[in-house]
């Protein structure tokens, strides 16, 4: 399991607005890759192009290619539905389905894929919740609404829901930005654990978080508002945070700008 992602010449638009321009990077399997950069630099946009969620927004489109183990997600015959099943996603705000129980939330993706057998579902719920470090906290109340959990628990529930369909890649769009420090730590621990099974890409505003959890870091930035965001530098996290090759990266990670 786990998959390499090659992004080549990626440019993303919202209607006429060019959000990011000409991004090239390679994301290694079973690694955590962090996207950092100031607001509006397009890091979330790039993340959303990796599972074709970008095009869900009205008027949004993508140029360039994203290869998943050599297969272009935007190539002919590609089914966005299958792409998204293979590349899971966790969002900024915990978004468990409010009308579903914890159990139903975890199996939501499996049910879409036609898994019906109760025994198998039970097994996968436990696996996924254990995988998301949530099992012990919720095993006695699987039939309670998912929305009744704390923010951090909800986010781990969303992670459980994402990994339940066994994706190859897990995309996380600022998964801790709505959480308190303790929940944030719990998610970070979880990310470190999950990277043994998944290729993980995480967008974060928090540079300490990037340096704590990621193996590689991509720094995005933009010249000025209205310009498209660009990939400034992409390297090993240790390199980015200690001796970046670009002046802009250094300014950003040292807190002088952004």
């Amino acid at each position: 399991m786990a998959t390499r992602i090659d992004v080549t010449g990626l440019t993303a638009y919202y209607g006429k607005f060019k959000a990011v321009s000409d991004v090239n990077l390679t994301i290694e399997p079973k690694n955590v890759t962090a996207f950092i950069g100031p607001s509006g630099c397009g890091k979330s946009t790039v993340l959303r192009t990796l599972n074709r969620m970008h095009e869900v927004l009205p008027g949004a489109r993508v140029e360039g290619s994203v290869l998943l183990d050599g297969e272009d997600l935007y190539g002919p015959g590609m089914d966005p539905v299958n792409v998204r099943r293979t590349v899971g996603m966790v969002f900024q705000r915990p978004n468990p389905f409010p009308t579903m129980s914890i159990y139903e939330n975890v199996i939501a993706g499996l049910k879409l894929n036609g898994v019906r057998k109760k025994a198998l579902l039970d097994e996968r719920v436990e696996e996924s919740l254990r995988g998301a470090n949530l099992w012990d906290e919720v095993k006695d109340r699987l039939n309670r609404p998912g929305a009744g959990l704390s923010g951090g628990q909800q986010q781990r529930l969303c992670i459980a829901r994402a990994i339940a369909v066994e994706p190859q890649v897990l995309l996380m769009d600022e998964p801790c930005s709505a959480l308190d420090p303790i929940s944030t730590l719990a998610i970070e621990d979880l990310i470190t654990k999950l990277k043994s099974s998944f290729t993980i890409v995480i967008v974060t505003h928090n540079m300490q978080q990037a340096s704590r959890v990621s193996d590689a870091t991509a720094f995005f930035s933009l010249e000025k508002t209205g310009d498209p965001g660009r990939l400034v530098e992409f390297d090993k996290t240790s390199k980015i945070f200690t001796s970046p090759s670009q002046k802009r990266t250094e300014d950003y990670v040292s807190g002088r700008f952004g």
Binding site: S39, G40, S44, N51, M53, V56, P58, G59, V81, N82, V83, R84, R85, T86, G88, M89, F91, Q92, R93, N95, P96, F97, P98, T99, M100, S101, I102, Y103, E104, A108, G109, L112, N113, N143, R144, P145, C158, R161, A162, V165, E174, C176, S177, A178, L179, D180, P181, T184, T204, H205, N206, Q208, Q209
Partner: protein, 402 residues
């Protein structure tokens, strides 16, 4: 999409930033209150204001973009604290004056609220009062008699036929209108391109405002003749089903039901659309990110979330359909017969009977019509209560149902 700082160190930022952009303190409150209102206890309670999760999370939502002069009243924490520090000297006198005024105002609003209950009670009481006189003179059984001869001597009347007609036409209308309305709402919220969607939303809202008498006029003069072909076809090919059987077709329950369906369609669609619009994008994206097709996304995220709203919209539509008077009065031929042949030109509803029978009613006749109105009132109330119960049960979701 707002991107927020996510570390704990920066957590207080959005709140501070939001209030900092506001002008310091609104004029209205300070000039009004600085002098004579102490409220030390109130202030103490309000001082450690902790905005709810929602507002901290999205500082731009409620406060910053309010766009009304009142956003100026969002005092910064510093100014909130100010009066607490030095309570005005004439504390007790001010407090009691404020207390009285508050009490008076509260009681005014409360009286209005109770007035509403009185209104409902009055509706029930006066309908009952007027009805009993006629009911006691009735030689038939009010609930089971099909005939309606309240103006004869002795009077003989019952609501069986008209109540039957009310339920049948409303049911036909619901069966046709609700799925289509949900389809329209889904089309506008999920399928249509954004610009088109807002225009269509507008159009549906406007159609919902077209008065029923206009639909009735159209149903009588335009639709009823056009329905003949469809009715004949149903009668020919599906006549073996009693509902479509019968010897002739005409201005039937089906026609009335279709007119009612067209009438309630915009209102149910408009309300359902509102509900679907409220489904957070996050839930829709969550479903899509799990690899759902568009329809699966609708089933996973949109429909369950919108279900109570759609039910209440449908119930509102049902109430409208059952209470709709004029359109049905114009379409149905006003006969008092319980018939299972829904294509035959026969039938009447309670509301239409009131409108049609009003002109020639004598004293007993008026009472009889009022009694039938009371039945309609009770039936719609039951529908409402059921709807409320469904919504309430959905709301305190216990996890047992999907």
């Amino acid at each position: 999409m707002t991107t927020e700082p996510d570390s704990s160190a920066e957590k207080a930022e959005p709140r501070g930033a939001a209030s900092a952009t506001d002008p310091p303190v609104g004029e209205v409150p300070t000039t009004e209150s600085a002098g004579d209102t102490p409220l030390t206890d109130e202030t103490a309670k309000a001082a450690p204001v902790t905005p709810t999760d929602e507002t901290t999370a999205t500082p731009t939502d409620g406060t910053a973009s309010t766009g009304t002069p009142m956003s100026a009243d969002l005092a910064t924490p510093a100014t909130i604290m100010a009066p607490t520090a030095a309570p005005p000297p004439i504390a007790s006198a001010g407090r009691s004056a404020v207390g009285t005024a508050d009490l008076v105002f509260k009681n005014i609003t409360r009286t209005a609220g109770i007035g509403l209950l009185v209104l409902i009670a009055a509706i029930a009481i006066f309908l009952v009062l007027r009805a009993t006189h006629a009911l006691s003179a009735n030689t038939g059984h009010f609930l089971t008699t099909e005939e309606w001869f309240p103006n004869e001597t002795p009077p003989k009347f019952g609501v069986a036929a008209t109540l039957f007609g009310t339920v049948v036409t409303a049911a036909i209308a619901m069966i046709i209108a609700v799925p289509i309305a949900v389809g329209i709402a889904l089309f506008i919220t999920v399928y249509a391109p954004r610009q088109l969607a807002s225009i269509l939303g507008y159009v549906v809202d406007l159609l919902a405002a077209v008065p029923s008498v206009v639909y009735g006029l159209w149903g009588l003069i335009v639709l009823a003749p056009h329905m003949k072909g469809v009715q004949l076809w149903l009668n020919d090919y599906l006549g073996w089903i009693p509902l479509f059987g019968g010897d002739s077709v005409g201005r039937s329950f089906l026609v009335a039901g279709v007119v009612l369906a067209i009438m309630i369609l915009p209102i149910v669609a408009a309300l359902s659309r509102e509900v679907f619009l409220q489904v957070p994008i996050a839930h829709r994206e969550a479903a899509l990110a799990l690899g759902a097709t568009r329809w699966e996304m609708i089933r996973t995220a949109v429909l369950p979330y919108g279900k109570p709203g759609v039910i209440s919209a449908s119930m509102l539509g049902l109430g409208r359909a059952m209470g709709e008077t004029i359109a049905v009065a114009l379409v149905l031929p006003a006969s008092f017969k319980i018939s299972v042949h829904w294509l035959e030109p026969a039938g009447n509803t309670i509301a239409a009977n009131v409108a049609n029978g009003w002109g020639e009613a004598n004293d007993i006749g008026q009472g009889a019509l009022i009694a039938s109105g009371l039945v309609l009132f009770i039936v719609t109330m039951i529908v409402n209560i059921i709807a409320r119960a469904i919504i309430a049960r959905r709301r305190d979701f216990s996890g047992s149902s999907a």
